[in-house]
């Protein structure tokens, strides 16, 4: 995925971390061609991407599905202004989720994104991730739209605090 982002000419990567993005965040921080920005809330990423595009730079935002709930109103800006934007969302609250508090937002994530005009793609297996990211970036920047890739919890693995606690 890092190679795809680099090849597609992204200049800014914004993120609120997720364990599923750990390696990608490390690679982005190590890439001098990328300005990697840690955000205090995902909503800031929408402003960051808007400003960066006004200045000619492409932005990708990395977040987990709970973060989608934090960007809803701000997505109105990218829709009204047709700011191209790639969202890479690691899913929680689906496939074998242990934490019930993650389930409501995880289940609502695709509908919330679509309600705000975001194009939604999914990667349900590891080998789909890079191609879906590549395709979503192309449709976003080709069409001046926001596009999201939802990476299934099945790809990332199920977090079980009970199992961790038992170890």
């Amino acid at each position: 995925m890092h190679q795809a982002l680099s090849r597609l000419g992204f200049g800014v990567i914004g993120y609120v971390p997720d364990a599923g993005h750990k390696r990608l965040i490390e690679l982005c921080h190590g890439d001098a061609r990328l300005r990697t920005v840690v955000l205090s809330t995902e909503e800031e990423g929408i402003g960051l991407a808007t400003g960066a595009w006004l200045g000619g730079a492409k932005t990708a935002l990395l977040m987990q599905s709970s973060g989608v709930g934090n960007i809803v109103n701000a997505l109105g800006v990218v829709r009204e202004c047709r700011i191209p934007l790639l969202l890479v969302v690691t899913m929680r609250g689906e496939y074998g989720e242990f934490n019930p508090w993650q389930v409501p937002m995880g289940q609502a994530t695709p509908e919330v994104l679509r309600a705000m005009g975001v194009l939604v793609q999914r990667a349900d297996t590891a080998d789909e991730v890079a191609v879906q990211v590549d395709a979503a970036a192309r449709i976003a920047f080709g069409g001046y739209a926001a596009a999201a890739v939802l990476i299934s919890q099945r790809v990332i693995g199920i977090k079980s605090f009970q199992e961790q606690a038992a170890q």
Binding site: R35, G47, C81
Partner: protein, 195 residues
């Protein structure tokens, strides 16, 4: 109590603006910038409350050779306080955030904001790592603020206390794609539309 008037403060920062890039937060500060004169390199936000400062951050990172000024209100800034921390981590030297602080939500009936109760935005920005963060109450401080915005090594933050008054509304254009496209063409050239 400050006697500064918002329109005069914004005008003092924007006249003879050179190649300054401006993001205006939604509501009164967008009208203040429009009252000084509509400009393709001013991006007035009509939504996304809380996002003005971090929009300025994105612009400053993408255009490190240009000066970027965010002019926003106290209510708008309060909704995006985390962005002070995010800017403090990035520390773009070309970015200034000026909060026009009338201690009111001006578009909704002039209800008091948190700053009316003593919340100190400049102290928050200083603690977040801005290179400078000042509270301005006197007209004599505006010229040094202008110098900081146009020339100083930032990121700068200023909380400018102004009189709580309702000015005549001067509207900038409101269609988002128009505002985006004219900004990008003025900044990046006609080829921006081909990106």
């Amino acid at each position: 109590m400050s006697a500064l008037r918002r329109r005069e403060v914004v005008r003092a920062l924007l006249v003879n603006r050179g190649d300054l890039l401006v993001v205006a937060g939604l509501g009164s500060t967008a009208w203040d910038c429009a009252a000084t004169g509509d400009h393709p390199l001013t991006f007035p936000m009509w939504g996304g409350m809380g996002c003005a400062a971090v929009t300025g951050l994105g612009l400053a990172l993408a255009q490190p050779a240009r000066r970027v000024l965010v002019v926003t209100g106290d209510g708008e800034m309060l909704m995006g306080l985390g962005s002070l921390a995010t800017i403090g981590v990035q520390r773009p030297a070309n970015l200034s955030v000026v909060v026009i602080d009338n201690e009111r939500y001006g578009e909704t009936g002039m209800q008091k904001t948190h700053t009316a109760h003593g919340v100190d935005l400049a102290a928050m920005a200083r603690a977040a790592g801005f290179a400078s963060a000042v509270l301005v109450r006197e007209a004599s401080a505006i010229e040094s603020l202008r110098q900081a915005v146009h020339h100083g090594a930032g990121p700068h933050f200023a909380q400018v206390k102004v009189v709580a008054e309702k000015e005549a509304i001067t509207l900038p254009p409101r269609e988002g794609t128009l505002l985006k496209n004219r900004f990008r063409e003025a900044l990046l050239g006609a080829s921006a539309s081909l990106q």
